[in-house]
Structure formats: C-alpha cells, structure tokens
C-alpha cells in the first residue's frame, strides 16, 4: 500500500517538475542544510545547557524558551525543503533503508522532545538524569543527520 503511494507520489506533476529542472532540486537540498544548521543550533544550545556546559547564569527553561522559536523555524524549514526532495525521489527513497531509519529516528526524536526532554527542561538544576536526556537527544538528531546524508550517498 505504502509502496503504491510512494510510486504515485513520484508521478505527481509537481514531483516531475522538481526533477525536470537541473537546478531546483540541488537548490532545495542546499537550503535544507541551512535550515538544518538553524534547527541543530536551537536544539544544541538547550542540550548543552542540560549537560551543564551551557549558559549557567540562566535556567535551562529560560535558555530553552529563547531557543524554541528558532528550533521550530528550523524544523518547519527542514520539512518544507525535505518533502519536495522526497516527492521527486519517492520510489528510490522507499527502497532506501537509510530513509526509513531517518524517519523512525525523527519520530522517536519528536516524541522524546515533547515528553521526556520537555519535562527535564523544567528542572531547576542539571543532574545525571538531565545529562542522559541531553546525550540521548544529541545522539538521536545526529543519527537523523547521518542517515539523511547516507540516503543521497548510497541510494
């Protein structure tokens, strides 16, 4: 069922249009990386604070509140530039193990972000637990980045 959907998606006129131009797809890929930097920065400034390496004159909650709009902007930009890449490459990505690893890790990362990490950000002090949460967060989003890059290199 999903395979059929991916095949169809690749046939949509807009998907074909993205593939027909030599520069549209590469430009989208490049802008995807700029949003990645914004997202990663917003994520890491909070994760570093959870690790106890960040700006210690402010609580983690304050650091996180400042970073959140930029992290969200980065994420929305990543989705907006990621979906067209998927549309143009739909069938190929369906058969890429790295694409699916990336999707599972994003799903896990978002759930983790909205539950455990969100709760940990409210803690007044850094602790062993907050450090573990920061390390998991960094590892998951690094895993997303690694798998994302491998889609293009090995598919």
């Amino acid at each position: 069922m999903l395979e059929g959907f991916f095949e169809q998606m690749g046939q949509w006129p807009i998907s074909q249009a993205i593939g027909a131009s030599i520069w549209v797809y590469p430009t989208i890929q490049a802008i995807h990386l700029v949003f990645l930097a914004l997202f990663a920065g917003g994520m890491m400034i909070t994760d570093l604070r959870l690790l106890g390496f960040g700006m210690r004159s402010k609580t983690t909650a304050e650091v996180a509140r400042d970073a959140r709009p930029w992290m969200v902007t980065g994420f929305l930009g990543l989705v907006a530039t990621g979906v067209p890449q998927l549309m143009q490459n739909a069938s190929r990505e369906y058969f890429s193990e790295f694409f699916w690893y990336k999707m599972y890790l994003i799903a896990f990362g978002l759930i983790f972000l909205l539950t455990v990490r969100r709760k940990m950000i409210q803690a007044p002090e850094t602790s062993a637990a907050s450090k573990v949460v920061a390390l998991i967060s960094m590892a998951v989003w690094t895993g997303v980045t690694i798998n994302a890059r491998l889609i293009g290199l090995f598919t």
């Binding site: 520069w23 990663a40 917003g42 970073a67 930029w70 980045t145 690694i146 491998l150 290199l153 090995f154």
Partner: protein, 168 residues
C-alpha cells in the same frame, strides 16, 4: 593560477590522496562527518548571530553566550576543517575546476574577516550593551553578515557535486 594548479596536481598524485580517492567508503563517511561537524559549528554560530541581531537568545548576556558557545564552535570548526581538508586532499583536481568550491573558500575568508572585525572593534564595547534589550549597529551588522556569509558557505558547499559550470 598556475602555482595553485601545480599544488593541487601535486597533491592529487600523492599515494595517500590516491588511496582515499579509490576507497569506496572513506569519502562518503568523511562527507557525513563533515555535515555533522557543520551542524555543531554553524548551528552555534547562528545562535550567536541571532543574539547579535537582537532577535534571539536575548535572556543571556552576550558575553556569557559567547564564552560558553565558543569552545563548541571551535570544536565544530576543527572537525569541519579536518574532514573538509581531507576531502579536498583526496580529489584536488575535481575541486580545482569547481566554481562552488572556490566560492565557498572565498566566502569563508570573508566570514573570517567579519568575525575578526567584530572581535577587534565591536566587542570592545560589549560592557555597554551586554545585557541591553537591543544591540548596537555594529553588532547587528556582524550578526547579519555572519548569517548570510555562513549560509552561502553551506549552500555552495552542498552544490559542489553539481558541476554545472565546470570548465576543464
């Protein structure tokens, strides 16, 4: 640019360069490590630039943000440099003819000059605006230039594989 050409050509003939070029997995893994270290470097640079622009991370005094993020930015820079130089080392003649590679190198120099100018001029007055709700013009200029220049570096870096204008 004959001397540059000769240097790149000389590197391309070195046994180590040939070995990396001919290995199937080394370059892809280097590319992946380059992207991950770019996130660390550019991600924290953009956080600092937003603070300089006066639109992000405003709860924290600038000097504290700068001091806390600097070691991580430098770690990201070191990792990006090692992976990037090794990538260039592994296939210099491919980069030599690539317009995006040279754009990236040039804009990195400009971004470096911007950072130096900020450090030696605007940062001297940091005590007067460290905790203020707005930042002075010089800080905003450095922040805006930093974001634009590093974005160009990222974009031109990603476009290197697409040699639309390649001229052998």
């Amino acid at each position: 640019m004959q001397p540059v050409h000769d240097l790149f050509f000389w590197v391309s003939e070195l046994p180590t360069s040939i070995a990396i070029r001919e290995s199937l997995l080394f370059s892809p893994y280097l590319t992946v490590a380059h992207v991950v270290s770019m996130c660390l470097f550019a991600g924290l640079i953009v956080m600092m630039d937003l603070r300089l622009l006066g639109i992000g991370n405003m709860s924290t005094p600038f000097s504290e943000l700068q001091k806390r993020l600097f070691p991580w930015q430098m770690l990201g820079m070191a990792m990006s440099s090692v992976t990037g130089v090794t990538l260039a080392f592994s296939d210099p003649m491919r980069f030599y003819v690539n317009i995006f590679f040279w754009t990236k190198m040039l804009v990195m120099v400009l971004a470096g000059i911007n950072a130096m100018a900020f450090h030696f001029i605007t940062y001297n007055s940091v005590v007067t605006w460290d905790t203020r709700a707005t930042t002075p013009f010089g800080a905003k200029l450095s922040g805006a230039l930093g974001m634009v220049l590093w974005a160009i570096v990222i974009v031109s870096g990603r476009l290197i594989p697409y040699n639309w204008f390649q001229n052998n």
